[in-house]
Subunit: 333 residues, 2 copies
């Protein structure tokens, strides 16, 4: 019987040489259309047809970033790919390739690594066809760790920066708000045992009950192809919403020297969740007024000239309650 992510092969990494592990992984990984030279030499070679390439990197670590009781190996590979693809898409680029470094305890069943590879492949095939894994690295560690670097092709267009929004632009979003945070909240509330330890059976039951929220957290589906679509439609600024709409809108506003006024009605019923939820991985973009928004984008508000000010229906949100600056990272201070 062939090992699949559902029936992880029992042999551990300690039972196999690095070469044997790679021989099990490579056939599962998607090739990249941009690949001129793939795995097996000291480095890979990729094509950059317009003489430029987009690069982003991100690391996921067991414990702080995921729990094996909640995430399947397939989920981990999928999420590691999806979050990096989203950063590439947020530049208006088409993702072309990934390199993936994995560190794992020697006791890790090879089926876990195979499941991660399957998740990487399925995510690329679903969200960025033609994008593949062109290289990687395998190391030993105590905590399962995935470091992904993703590449993209601007296809001759300029990158869509955070800094290009202009007063009067429409603020629009592709993707959902607050769902991933809701999934995480549900997991921490309902998928832990009496001692607060993540529990696989409870997580499976929760996932059956709240499939959308839990999947948004464990295996998100960011609107990757909307990045290039936004660029083609003339987006003036764009970013990946990873730390919550309020924080990320703040980043875009500060980088552009503008403000943003959100329409409360566009943010849904749970305004705190929409503004505060993390790991949405939607694309927040601004477009010149009157732009026919590309499919998948919906208007959330408008760009104002009140630099750095985030408003709701023209007013600060709450009665001294919500502070758009609270939780902002220092880079925008």
């Amino acid at each position: 019987m062939l090992p699949t992510s559902e029936t992880p092969a029992r042999e551990t990494l300690a039972d196999l040489s690095e070469g044997e592990v790679l021989a099990r992984i490579f056939p599962r990984l998607p090739g990249a259309a941009a690949q001129l030279l793939g795995p097996g030499d000291d480095a890979a070679v990729l094509s950059a047809p317009d003489g430029r390439y987009v690069v982003t990197t991100d690391m996921m670590i067991q414990g702080p970033d995921f729990r094996l009781a909640w995430s399947s190996p397939h989920d981990l590979g999928w999420k590691a790919a999806a979050t990096n693809l989203s950063d590439v898409a947020a530049m208006g680029a088409r993702p072309t390739a990934l390199v993936v470094a994995i560190a794992a305890p020697p006791s890790t069943p090879i089926g876990v690594i195979e499941g991660i590879a399957d998740g990487l492949r399925d995510c690329c095939e679903a969200l960025a066809p033609g994008c593949g894994v062109v290289g990687g690295d395998l190391s030993a560690s105590d905590a399962l760790t995935l470091a992904v670097t993703a590449f993209g092709d601007l296809e001759g267009r300029g990158p869509v920066l955070r800094s290009g929004a202009r007063p009067g632009d429409v603020v629009a979003l592709a993707g959902r708000l607050g769902e991933a945070a809701q999934g995480l909240e549900l997991l921490f509330r309902l998928a832990v045992d009496a001692d607060g330890v993540p529990d696989a059976e409870l997580a499976a039951a929760l996932r059956a009950q709240h499939p959308e929220e839990v999947a948004a957290q464990l295996a998100p589906v960011p609107p990757i192809d909307r990045g290039p679509a936004a660029a083609l439609a003339g987006a003036t600024a764009m970013l990946d919403v990873s730390d919550g709409l309020a924080i990320d809108a703040g980043r875009l506003a500060r980088a552009s020297g503008v403000g943003i006024d959100f329409d409360r009605a566009a943010l849904g019923e749970n305004i705190e969740r929409a503004l505060g939820g993390g790991e949405d991985h939607g694309l927040l973009a601004t477009f010149p007024a009157g732009t026919d928004l590309p499919d998948g984008f919906r208007a959330l508000g408008t760009v104002t000239d009140a630099a750095g000010t985030i408003l709701l229906d023209g007013r600060p949100h709450g009665q001294g309650g919500w502070d758009p600056y609270r939780g902002w990272d220092g880079s925008v201070r």
Copy 2:
């Protein structure tokens, strides 16, 4: 007083926001000549003048890969850069840029991260001028972890693969053999306390006594610029010697469908150390017979037509002793 790698700033990562940490790191990092867009957006943009780029990735983890009692933060940044630059150079490419993901415990003093940044910078400036850090990621973890992805420019040349060696070619090396392994052996023998735990004071004393061997292990100086030089001189095959000469020569031989006959005299007095030592990070290359070897390369032997056979002065080494296949990874079986 400005914090330096010698006097690590005491504030911990837990005391600072991610943005504040980045604000401390970025000014220390070298810019890259190839950088079209640097850190601060969702992704960086790099130039690829000849429409291609070289990519390699590698992860270093506290415990399996380094010990903080032996390696200074500066050493860690240096080595993480050096080993990745070496893989780029082994393709015959000129290194252009790095992205660096760092995961560290929240209790890590910011000075440690600053020291790593200084090491990355100093290594790039010393070994690959013009190469810089264009992006990264910062996460929390229990074990300090560095994941580096490095990029290179082939400058219009074809990549030098492992598979191009031809019978009659000269086998040559830039760099040293066995010194890094000797350094590691010294550290494990003389820089541990009575319980076998790595000890910083003993390591410092050892480094004063054996500076070359210990530095070869903790902060190697691979001959990065010899990679493009070898390509220009017509190298038919090349790789980075990372797992020991015997293993890596075997990889090159198998990939090329050739054998290698080493001149025993060229390998120095300690033949086992020369053949077996890991982490040399020299460049092993083959050149057409009669090639004027580029500066820094010395001949070690010749390529034969006995596919997969590694010989010493025309004979298998030792009396049934050294098996060139022992320790090879599965990828070449």
